[in-house]
Amino acid sequence: MAEVKTPLIEMRDISIAFGGIKAVDRASVDLYPGEVVGLLGHNGAGKSTLIKVLSGAYKRDEGQILINGSEVTINNPRDAKALGIETIYQTLALADNVDAAANLYLGRELRTRMGTLDDVAMEAETRKVMKRLNPNFRRFKEPVMKLSGGQRQSVAIARAIHFNARILIMDEPTAALGPQETAQVGELIKQLKADGIGIFLISHDLHDVFDLADRLTVMKNGRVVGSAHVKDVDHDGVLGMIIAGKVPRGATPGPGALVG
C-alpha cells in the first residue's frame, strides 16, 4: 500500500455529540484502495457512530471527509451512495415485508420506459447476483422476513456490492452467521479487495480482523487509541489498546491513547 499516495478516503478530526455526550471525539481514519481496515473497540467505543457519519446516517458536528484528496459533503445516505460508499449494517437494514429484489434495488429501482417499476428486470438481475453470492438461494418471491439469517445477510451484501461500490463499510458482517457462511464472507472480502475496493470492517472478533484486515484502528470512549499494520502487532497488544487504551510498540498512538 505504501506506493499509493492519496488515500481513497480520509476522515479528519470527526466529532459528533448526542445530547452533550461526545460519541466520537476528533477521530481520524483513512483507507486506501484494495485495503481492509479493521475498526475495533468495545460496545459504545464510537466505531459504529464514526462509520455512520461516513455512510450518511448521522451528520457530523465537526471534521472533514475527503475522497481521493478532495473534500466531500455527506448529509444523508443518498449523498454517500452517490459517492460510491455502500454499507452493510449490523441490523442489515432490510425491509422485511418485501422480497429480495425489492430490497436489493430499494431507493434505486429499475424502471420501464413508462416509468413504472420493472420488477421482472430487477428479479432477473437479483437472480444473477445471488447466483454468485449464494448459489443455493431460491426464495426470490418471498418477503425477506421468511429467510434464514444467512440468506438475509447475503441479500444485504448483494445490495452493497451490486452498485459498483468504491468503499464498503461492513458492520459486524459475520455476527449472525455460522462457520461456513463466515468463511464465505471472508472469501468475498478477498475478492472485493482484489477489485480495488476499500473496506472498513467493524468487528468484535479479533480473529476476523487479523485474518482479513491489512491495518486496524482501535477506538475507546469516542477517541482513536491507535492504529497499526496487522503484521506489526499481536493479539495481546491489540487487546491492551481495546481494554486499557495502552498503545503497544509497532502502533501509532492517536488522541485517545493512554498517556504515560
Binding site: 455512510s55 445516505p77 443518498r78 425491509a95 422485511d96 415485508n97 424502471r111 413504472t116
Partner: protein, 467 residues
C-alpha cells in the same frame, strides 16, 4: 400467501393434496378468497332471511340478492371505498388519518358554498363551468388539507394520531362556520351526475357491456403479458391451465357484475319524466304495484311489469370507485412511490438508510389521502344534492374499519387495496342488509363493531397458521 410455502414443503405437498396444489399453481391469495367467500355468504344469509319476512325476487326469494339492492349497494359503498384505498397506504406507512370524515364535510361545504353562493349567482345557475370548477375545488382543497396533515406529521414530528384527531375536531368546526350551520343546497344540476341519483349518471346497458368487454380484454392481455415477460427472463411459469382459469374467473366476475347492473331498471318516476321531456310514446297496459316500467292505463301513467323500461347499467359513483381501486392498486404495486410506502412501513430505518426521503413520502401519502377525500366529497355531496357539516360524520370510523377488515395491519407494512374494497363492501352489506330486515340502527352499529373485531381476530388466526 399459499405460494410462500412451495420452497420448503415438498413432503407436505403430497399430503395436503389437490387443493394446495391448486392454490400454489394459481397463486391466488387465499386470504382474500376467504373474505370474498364470507361476503357472498353474508349476502346469501340476508337474502334468505329477508325472504322469510317478505318474499321478493331475490336469488333465494329475499330482497338482498336483487339487481336493485346490489346496484344500490355499490353506489352506497363507493364513497367509503374510495377513501379506504388511501387509508390502506397511510396505515401501511404506519400512519393514520382520523380526520377524513371532518375533512369530507369541510371540503363539501366549502365547495358547496363556492358553487351555490358564489359561482351560481356570478355565472348564472347551471353554467357548465360551475361543475368543473366545483370538482377542481374539491380535489385541490382535499389535497391541500391532506398535505397539511402530512406536513405536521412528517416535519413538525407530531404523531399522526394527534394531528388528525385535532383535524377531526377542528375541520368540522370550520365546516360549521362556513355553512353557518345551514344546509348548502341545491348543488349545481350538472354536478349531480357524480351522485348516481339521476339518469345522466347511469352508463346504460350498451356502454356497460362495452366497458365489460374492454375489462375482459385487459384481464387476458395482462395475463398474457405477464407470462411473456417471465418467459423472456426464463423465470418459472404458472401452468397454462392456471392462467386460463384466472382469465376465465376474472372475465366471468366482470361479465356477471355487468349483467346484474344491466338488470336494474330505472325507477318508474324517472322513466316517466324522461319519456315526457323527450316526447316518447308510453305504451298502454295494466297497473302493477311492483312494476319496473311505466304504461298508460286510460289517461293515467301507472307502474307496470311490461311497458316502457330502461336499464341503468353502471352508475358513475360505482365506476369512480372501481377506477380508483385500479389506479390505487397500480400506484401501490407498480410505482416507486408505492414500493417506498411498503418498504418504509416494513422498516422505517432501513428505508431511510436506503436513501428514501421518508418525510416527503409521508407528506405525499397524506396528500393522496386528501385527494381521495376530495373525490369522496364530490360523490357524497352530489348524491345528497347538498352539503352539510354533518355529511362526513363518523366516516373516518367506517373508512378505518373497512381498511382493517380488508386485512391491513395497524403495525404497518401489510395491506392491499382490493382487500379494503372488499372490506368496505362487507361493511355496507351488513348495514344495508340489516336495514332491509328493518332492524334498528342501534343493532347495525353493534353488528358492524362486532364484525370489525371478529375480522381482525380471524385474520390473526390465519396469519399464525400461515407463518
Amino acid at each position: 400467501m399459499a405460494k410462500h410455502h412451495d420452497a420448503n414443503s415438498e413432503p407436505a405437498r403430497s399430503r395436503e393434496g389437490l387443493l394446495k396444489q391448486f392454490f400454489n399453481a394459481t397463486e391466488i391469495d387465499t386470504r382474500i378468497l376467504g373474505m370474498i367467500v364470507a361476503l357472498l355468504l353474508v349476502w346469501c344469509i340476508f337474502d334468505v332471511w329477508s325472504g322469510y319476512i317478505r318474499p321478493n325476487e331475490g336469488l333465494f326469494g329475499g330482497s338482498f340478492l336483487t339487481p336493485r339492492n346490489l346496484w344500490t349497494l355499490l353506489v352506497q359503498t363507493s364513497s367509503i371505498a374510495v377513501m379506504s384505498t388511501g387509508m390502506v397506504l397511510l396505515i401501511v406507512l404506519r400512519q393514520i388519518d382520523l380526520s377524513v370524515g371532518s375533512m369530507l364535510s369541510l371540503v363539501a361545504v366549502a365547495t358547496g358554498v363556492l358553487q351555490v353562493y358564489q359561482l351560481g349567482p356570478a355565472l348564472g345557475v347551471g353554467h357548465p363551468a360551475i361543475w368543473i370548477l366545483g370538482v377542481l375545488a374539491c380535489l385541490t382543497l382535499g389535497t391541500a388539507i391532506g398535505a397539511f396533515n402530512g406536513f405536521l406529521t412528517a416535519y413538525a414530528k407530531i404523531p399522526a394520531f394527534i394531528v388528525t384527531l385535532g383535524g377531526l375536531i377542528a375541520y368540522s368546526g370550520v365546516a360549521f362556520l362556513l355553512a353557518r350551520g345551514e344546509t348548502v343546497a341545491p348543488m349545481d344540476q350538472n354536478f349531480g351526475i357524480f351522485g348516481g341519483g339521476i339518469a345522466s349518471s347511469w352508463l346504460g346497458p350498451f356502454w356497460s357491456w362495452v366497458l365489460a368487454a374492454v375489462g375482459c380484454a385487459a384481464i387476458v392481455r395482462g395475463i398474457v403479458n405477464g407470462r411473456r415477460q417471465r418467459q423472456r427472463f426464463g423465470f418459472p411459469l404458472r401452468p397454462v391451465w392456471a392462467e386460463v382459469f384466472l382469465a376465465a374467473i376474472g372475465s366471468l366476475a366482470t361479465l356477471g357484475t355487468t349483467w346484474v347492473m344491466n338488470s336494474y331498471p330505472w325507477p318508474p318516476g324517472v322513466i316517466e319524466k324522461y319519456a315526457k321531456s323527450n316526447s316518447i310514446a308510453i305504451p298502454p297496459g295494466i297497473e302493477n304495484r311492483d312494476g319496473k316500467a311505466i304504461c298508460m292505463a286510460a289517461t293515467q301513467v301507472v307502474h307496470c311489469n311490461e311497458g316502457l323500461i330502461y336499464y341503468t347499467g353502471f352508475s358513475l359513483p360505482a365506476l369512480i370507485a372501481i377506477a380508483v381501486c385500479m389506479i390505487m392498486t397500480f400506484i401501490a404495486t407498480r410505482t416507486a412511490f408505492g414500493r417506498y410506502i411498503y418498504a418504509t412501513g416494513g422498516n422505517p430505518e432501513a428505508a431511510e438508510l436506503a436513501g428514501i426521503n421518508t418525510r416527503a413520502l409521508t407528506v405525499k401519502a397524506f396528500a393522496l389521502m386528501g385527494f381521495l377525500v376530495g373525490v369522496s366529497s364530490i360523490i357524497s355531496s352530489a348524491r345528497l344534492n347538498a352539503a352539510t357539516n354533518a355529511l362526513g360524520l363518523t366516516n373516518e370510523l367506517y373508512v378505518i374499519a373497512a381498511t382493517v377488515i380488508g386485512g391491513t395491519s395497524l403495525a404497518g407494512g401489510v395491506g392491499t387495496i382490493y382487500g379494503a374494497m372488499v372490506g368496505a363492501l362487507m361493511m355496507q352489506s351488513i348495514i344495508s342488509g340489516m336495514s332491509l330486515l328493518n332492524l334498528p340502527a342501534a343493532y347495525q352499529n353493534m353488528v358492524v363493531g362486532g364484525v370489525l373485531v371478529l375480522a381482525v381476530y380471524l385474520d390473526q388466526l390465519y396469519r399464525r397458521r400461515v407463518n
